[in-house]
Subunit: 156 residues, 2 copies
């Protein structure tokens, strides 16, 4: 994996993972059979070097992942335009990895992880919701192979 050009803006892997863990949405980048990239926003949860999300049974991103499981995932937060400096503050994390559909216990645990992240006060209702939508949802795991983070302003 290539090195970051702006080393002064690089944050450590732990900081990148902490940001990814806390942040609520990111953009998944996949590529189609025709070489057309496709970026789509989604909610996700991070645990133990994996990013999890759920989606409908069919769709553009699923088709792309089946064709080519290599993906990238980008989360951005704390953005603030600085008009007088012709610059922007932000924090971002970019992960590269391999996406695959998961099943069984691993699938259920990923859905509960999403539930715990986004609806911690509605766990019981959420588990019923998981059951109700069981056959209408795919769950995808991205095993991260490389992650990096950036923060501006750069560390002094």
């Amino acid at each position: 994996m290539r090195e970051m050009r702006r080393k002064d803006k690089e944050i450590g892997m732990d900081d990148a993972i902490n940001f990814l863990t806390e942040h609520e949405y990111g953009v998944l980048s996949t590529v189609g059979t025709d070489g057309q990239p496709y970026g789509v926003p989604l909610n996700y949860a991070y645990k133990d070097n994996c990013i999890y999300f759920h989606c409908a049974l069919t769709g553009h991103k699923i088709d792309n992942i089946v064709n080519n499981p290599k993906v990238s995932f980008c989360a951005v937060g704390d953005t603030k335009v600085l008009p007088s400096e012709f610059s922007t503050n932000y924090v971002s994390a970019v992960a590269f990895g391999v996406a695959s559909e998961i099943q069984g216990t691993e699938r259920y645990n990923a859905l509960v992880l999403l539930l715990e992240k986004f609806s911690p006060d509605f766990l019981e209702e959420g588990k019923k919701y998981i059951k109700k939508l069981d056959k209408a949802t795919k769950v995808i795991k991205i095993e991260i192979q490389h992650i990096s983070g950036k923060k501006a302003p750069a560390k002094s």
Copy 2:
């Protein structure tokens, strides 16, 4: 270009363009020679069916674009997690297009467009800044071939 699966969440092209015009940053998705997608956040400006951004002379996204100019651009805003509904409100626009480096007057006009968007109160200083960084910056144009937008909650 494929149709949106969730037609109920689709917004019109004008609304998608208005959102893209107003929003401050998005994620550019490109793909490398090895088929690895890469999503990276950036500030941009929209005008007349094109997205403009500037970047350093070298880097991952430039290498990818030179290899394969097909790109996707995704902007997301107004996100709000709805814990009790196991859902999220958001607005998003996804554009597909072809990226190329621009030069001369077209390049200068794109930099001024970015300046007018992000630093409207600092136009004169910004024009000096453009001159100063002239040789350190590439300017990329994405000619949009397809754009779509989504909004949740869905229209009733």
